[in-house]
């Protein structure tokens, strides 16, 4: 029995070992009109994505992420190498019934309204009429477009187009969801909702492949990532493996009296050089602050002609994933290296190790390989004022790999 024959309805607690996508020696060369090689977009790439995993593809423009995605979807054909999706070729028609795809731009029909768009794609999945309409209604509620259902997609803002694009990708309750820049163009509320949705889907045992330039988003949801450059994979692994700075310690506590602080610092400085120790107050996350403001405005029922914040995840997508909230999942993941952050939050003291950690070396080596126009590898900062490890890595990646 192949993976295709076993639709995924049970929710595994952790990613299973069942391979959903297998890529071996994948190479794509684009030729010119005369058949001469013009560009090698993907060069001998290998990776596997397992069931229930949120898998991130990272890389600068032209690094081969989208070409890889399009080969996974059967829209481009490999020059060399082998791809299996649920044990079949990506061009296998029946396999596509288990896929959901959100492209990097709104490639939807601009003359259809949002309900017609979902009805159309529901028809392509041969959904029964009642099922199709139920799902369309639920998805429109979920992505917050219920009130503008009769406006055509061409009249939508970019964010609204992303929302309807996401809805069409989920109309078939897919087992593998491929999202190309899912949060691009979305407001912070939309971003949060998409990330929550991704985590919900992952809890249901769905597999998600995510390509994004917004590294903070990738960090929030991905279990494993690959980093592309020049068509090749330069780094691959879990976020924990790639990002944690095991030789840096952060202590957080409620605000302390000045004398106590001085004593603590003195004790620390006895072992660590003074310029390696930073003290500051944690700031509130801007995303949380923004969401709070909008929640207040919504409570006062101010009118908007655009998309409204979506309601809860569509019922048919929630089945089997009710037990654990997204916050729980996030917490679980961030607290996995338990020893590092047990202190209650408020004031933060971060101490950096004298030598750079292994994964930052990797990034530096990437930077050396980058073209001259790219900014030079930043000097690895000591624990930055108010910056989390994630934010620091985000900044570093952005400057190394370039922003989209």
């Amino acid at each position: 029995m192949t993976a295709l024959d076993t639709p995924q309805t049970e929710a595994p607690a952790t990613p299973s070992t069942e391979t959903v996508v297998a890529v071996r020696g994948l190479t794509k060369i684009f030729n010119d009109f005369w058949g001469r090689p013009k560009a090698k977009a993907v060069d001998n790439v290998d990776f596997e994505v397992r069931r229930g995993e949120v898998f991130g593809l990272l890389g600068p423009n032209g690094s081969g992420k989208s070409t890889t995605i399009k080969m996974l979807l059967g829209l481009l054909y490999p020059t060399k190498g082998h791809i299996e999706v649920f044990g079949h070729s990506p061009r296998h028609v029946k396999t596509k019934a288990r896929l959901g795809y959100l492209p990097e731009e709104s490639y939807l029909y601009r003359y259809l309204n949002s309900r017609e768009t979902l009805e159309f794609f529901g028809n392509l999945f041969e959904l029964a009429p009642n099922d199709r309409r139920n799902r369309a209604e639920q998805l429109l509620e979920m992505v917050g477009l219920n009130q503008v259902r009769s406006r055509t997609v061409g009249e939508f803002s970019k964010g609204m187009q992303r929302r309807i694009g996401l809805a069409q990708a989920l109309i078939n309750d897919p087992d593998l969801v491929i999202l190309d820049e899912p949060t691009s163009g979305l407001d912070p509320i939309g971003c949060r909702e998409v990330k929550d949705l991704i985590l919900t889907l992952a809890r249901r045992g769905k597999t998600i492949i995510l390509s994004s330039h917004l590294l903070a988003d990738v960090e929030d949801v991905c279990d494993r990532v690959v980093i592309y450059y020049g068509g090749r994979i330069h780094a691959q692994g879990t976020l924990n493996e790639l990002l944690s700075e095991r030789d840096t310690v952060r202590i957080t506590s409620p605000a302390l009296p000045r004398e106590t602080m001085q004593k603590v610092l003195a004790t620390i400085r006895a072992d660590v050089a003074a310029d390696k120790v930073t003290v500051d107050n944690p700031t509130q996350n801007l995303e949380s602050y923004f969401l709070g403001v909008v929640a207040k405005a919504r409570a006062s029922e101010e009118h908007t002609s655009g998309a409204i914040s979506g309601s809860q995840v569509a019922a048919y997508l929630r089945t089997g994933a009710e037990g654990q909230s997204s916050a729980d999942k996030l917490l679980e993941r961030f607290t996995a290296p338990a020893a590092q952050s047990e202190a209650p939050a408020h004031a933060v003291v971060a101490i950096a190790a004298p030598q750079e950690q292994a994964n930052l070396k990797k990034l530096d080596s990437l930077a050396h390989a980058a073209p001259a126009a790219a900014p030079a590898a930043p000097k690895v900062a000591v624990a930055g004022a108010g910056k989390s490890v994630e934010a620091k890595a985000d900044e570093k990646l952005s400057s190394l790999l370039g922003k989209k």
Binding site: T67, Y111, P129
Partner: protein
């Protein structure tokens, strides 16, 4: 229990619109739109209702069934669409959709909403009214979805309204602009030949353009990437596009057909009585045709050749040239009617005379004189029709012009019991007359009415449009939109130039027959292109072997046999090959490009 869509306005409160069929819309159409303040629909419906009212007043005696059918169709369309128009109009006035409410009346729906406020039960929204039946079987669901897309696009991009106005302008406006001679033939010439011909041309061009655009642009603008990753075989995407275009064509061609039929009926009532009779008996009918059995000359040619060459040395003699000359000589015997001579035709209708009793019969004749003339000249003609030995034969004396088709009414009693008619032409002039066997004599008899004949004629035109759609899609399967459009238009031009190709093939040279003969041999270009052109001509002839517009304008039958043959030749053979090529190209094509890579 009905389902109502609830809309809310920030200042004006709530409104409820029923989902589904609207009986008030069905019965009161334009009045309903006025009362509901759906202004655009009100204007359009008023105009359409006025046109139908005019038709009713003009045709209620002659074609009541037709007018009633049109009226019912109109009411049904309004009934099905009315609530959607109302919902769109309400939204355009600033109302926002709030959800669905099950209720018996709009008032009950609004009362329910007022009662629950913002705490609408989830099931109201999440359980839209169940669909108990669907016209689309599951096996065709994907094709129909893609087809519906092309159809919707045509509405949203205003293609259908624009083409509809264009069609009606051609059908209604052209006869008003072009001057007629006030005869029935002049009327049919303009309303059918010109109008329907022009409609076919416009629809053909639109079909080709649309077929290229709908597929090529979907690929270029990347929508196809989202469609092709769904579990739809690519051939079904291709077929869906074709079906969508043909749905449009069916709608527009049907509309043009109804307009032609209505217009000709209305205009006929203004003709003088004699011309009305001609119209009814000769033009607005489906007439069958009987011709003389084909004359086989090959056996006679061989017999004469054997006789002439017996015992002779034939070394170096071009026997084929001799055969050709002999055949022309024998043909001339049948074509030339010397002065004071008679030529006889036996025309077999293939049905017993009793079946044709009382029906109008006509012989359709055409002749030329042996005297060279640049324009048609009048000559005295004498005709005798009826059983050879009968003394009740119908004798007709007419002055007719050369090189023109003429129809002469025949008494149906002149038919023999087995449905054969004997016609004699007596040349009373002092010069020989020329009767070309292919078109000099034909017996026309009524087989059916004009309405069904028009439908059959439109079906053949529909097959042509289907082929053009397949050609356009085939080109767009591999090429970008402008290139595909150029290729498809070139193919259309080649089809229209089939006469030139036929001349080249019959002359055996691209440079003209004389040049080839003088040169005495076939040059390289001819060797390459003549077989290609001959093959192309055979394919084009498969398509252009039918002339429904000509048949309709001359009151001839477009038979079901012809429709079946057209279906086989145009759709199954030529269209099938074009589709197979297009689908193969589209299936093998990469639908993402290097440009969109990151």
């Amino acid at each position: 229990m009905n389902t109502y869509e609830i809309y809310q306005h920030p200042l004006r409160g709530s409104a409820a619109v029923k989902r589904g069929f609207s009986w008030p819309g069905f019965f009161f159409n334009w009045l309903w739109a006025l009362v509901k303040r759906v202004w655009i629909a009100a204007v359009v419906l008023t105009i359409v209702a006025a046109v139908i009212g005019y038709l009713l007043s003009e045709l209620h005696q002659s074609n009541l069934a037709f007018v009633v059918a049109v009226k019912l169709l109109f009411c049904a369309i309004v009934g099905f669409r009315a609530n959607a128009w109302l919902a769109a109009s309400i939204e355009a006035r600033g109302y926002a959709f709030r959800g669905l409410v099950p209720a018996r009346t709009p008032a009950e729906a609004l009362a329910k909403v007022a009662t629950v406020g913002n705490n609408r039960p989830d099931e109201w929204n999440q359980s839209p009214p169940p669909i108990w039946f669907t016209l689309v079987p599951r096996s065709a669901q994907q094709v129909v979805a893609v087809a519906g897309l092309a159809y919707r696009a045509a509405w949203r991009f205003k293609l259908i309204p624009v083409l509809t106005v264009l069609m009606l302008t051609i059908v209604v406006g052209l006869p008003l602009v072009v001057k007629t001679d006030g005869s029935a033939r002049g009327l049919t010439q303009i309303v059918i030949t010109y109008s329907l011909g022009l409609v076919t041309l416009v629809l053909g061009m639109a079909t080709l353009w649309l077929a290229c655009g709908t597929l090529a642009r979907d690929v270029e603008e990347c929508q196809m990437q989202v469609v092709a990753v769904k579990p739809v075989p690519r051939w079904q995407i291709w077929a869906g596009k074709w079906v969508g275009i043909m749905m449009l064509n069916a709608l527009l061609l049907g509309l043009a057909g109804v307009a032609v039929f209505a217009l000709i009926q209305v205009r006929a009532s203004n003709l003088p009585p004699a011309q009305q009779k001609i119209l009814r008996d000769e033009l607005l009918v489906a007439r069958g045709s009987a011709r003389e059995a084909k004359i086989e000359l090959d056996k006679d040619v061989e017999a004469i050749l054997r006789e002439k060459t017996q015992g002779q040395d034939l070394t170096g003699v071009d026997l084929n040239a001799m055969r050709k000359e002999l055949k022309e000589m024998l043909k001339a015997d049948f074509q030339i009617v010397p002065a004071a001579y008679r030529r006889r035709w036996v025309l077999d209708t293939g049905m017993p005379a009793a079946a044709l009793q009382g029906r109008p019969l006509h012989i359709r004749v055409k002749f030329n004189s042996s005297r060279l003339s640049g324009s048609p000249q009048p000559y005295q003609t004498a005709w005798e029709v009826g059983p050879a030995e009968s003394n009740t034969r119908q004798r007709i004396l007419r002055t007719l012009t050369t090189d023109t088709f003429h129809e002469i009414a025949i008494e149906s009693r002149q038919l023999s019991p087995d449905g054969k008619l004997i016609v004699d032409y007596i040349n009373a002039n002092d010069i020989p007359m020329v009767m070309v066997p292919e078109n000099c004599m034909e017996l026309l008899y009524r087989e059916g009415g004009f309405g069904l004949n028009l439908c059959r004629g439109l079906l053949i035109i529909f097959f042509w449009l289907g082929l053009l759609a397949a050609l356009g899609l085939a080109a767009a399967s591999a090429l970008s939109f402008p290139v595909a459009a150029f290729v498809a238009l070139t193919m259309l031009t080649i089809c229209l130039a089939s006469g030139t190709i036929a001349t080249v093939v019959s002359e055996g040279s691209l440079m003209g027959g004389n040049v080839a003969r003088i040169a005495g041999d076939i040059n390289l270009l001819d060797q390459i292109f003549l077989p290609i052109l001959a093959g192309l001509l055979r394919i084009v002839n498969l398509v252009l072997d039918f002339s429904p517009i000509d048949a309709l304008s001359t009151g001839r039958s477009v038979t079901w046999g012809q429709v079946g043959l057209a279906f086989t030749q145009i759709w199954l053979l030529v269209g099938g090959v074009a589709s197979a090529i297009g689908i193969t190209l589209f299936t093998r094509r990469e639908l993402a490009t290097a440009q969109s890579q990151q």
